[in-house]
Amino acid sequence: MSVAEVNKPQPPDFELAKRAADGDGSAFEELYRRHYRRVYALTLRMMRNPTEAEDMTQDVFLQLFNKIGMFRGESAFTTWLHRMTVNQVLMHFRKKSTRSELLTDEGETPIQIVKGTENPSVMPVIDRISLENALVQLPPGYRTVFVLHDIEGYEHYEVAEMLGIAEGTSKSQLHKARLKLRQLIRQQAASK
């Protein structure tokens, strides 16, 4: 790539989306190259399986190709694409489970509140590895809210909009997810 090409201003996502909707394949390819890493990272965090996340990333971009004309620029393209990604992943989860199992704690083992200091010898180390391991075991509904809020950094109103739930539900699910993660991390530490 020449210096002139490097310094050339890049077209905004909205412009690329419009061109892609009009059948410009190179514009769609540019959108893919800009965003595939973010889409893959999000699907991986939600699904915890690299192969499934890769397949899901393909599905998301296929969906994007089919629906690109629906993007009106009312929100940032990345937000719109993330919403599409989350919906695709949730649809995948729903094939394996019911909605109530995904977004409520019905049917789940009640969270045991293990207090902090009764046995300091098994105090777990909460680090990246223990958190990643615990996330794998978290029920999909809890995991989705935790990934979107605590990892991806979305606000509760955005999480609620993406998942089609009330903001209060997002808050309570997040709190339960954190407590469940803590319980799982302690169980991991105790089993070592």
């Binding site: 890493r37 393909q58 207090k115």
Partner: protein, 78 residues
């Protein structure tokens, strides 16, 4: 009873979303209850660790070209 209520409020307390009365209740309880304070510290660590995961470090991304070829192929088929 105080412990159950305190734990229920910890995430919102941490995020600064509680009203003054609830803040005072949680703050007072945490200063007196080492167990609940332990839960609070753990939850803070979980939130901090999650935020650190936000950076993409450590993710092994699939090959950009290979994935693009797959997307393109499926796009044509559909």
């Amino acid at each position: 009873m105080d412990c159950a209520r305190s734990i229920e409020l910890l995430s919102e307390y941490s995020a600064g979303l509680l009203g003054e009365d609830d803040i005072l209740f949680v703050k007072t309880h945490l200063s007196a209850c080492t167990d609940c304070n332990g839960v609070f510290q753990d939850l803070r660590l979980i939130v901090q660790t999650a935020a650190a995961l936000r950076s993409d470090n450590g993710i092994a991304y699939p090959d950009e070209e290979v994935l693009w070829q797959r997307v393109s192929a499926r796009r044509i088929i559909h």
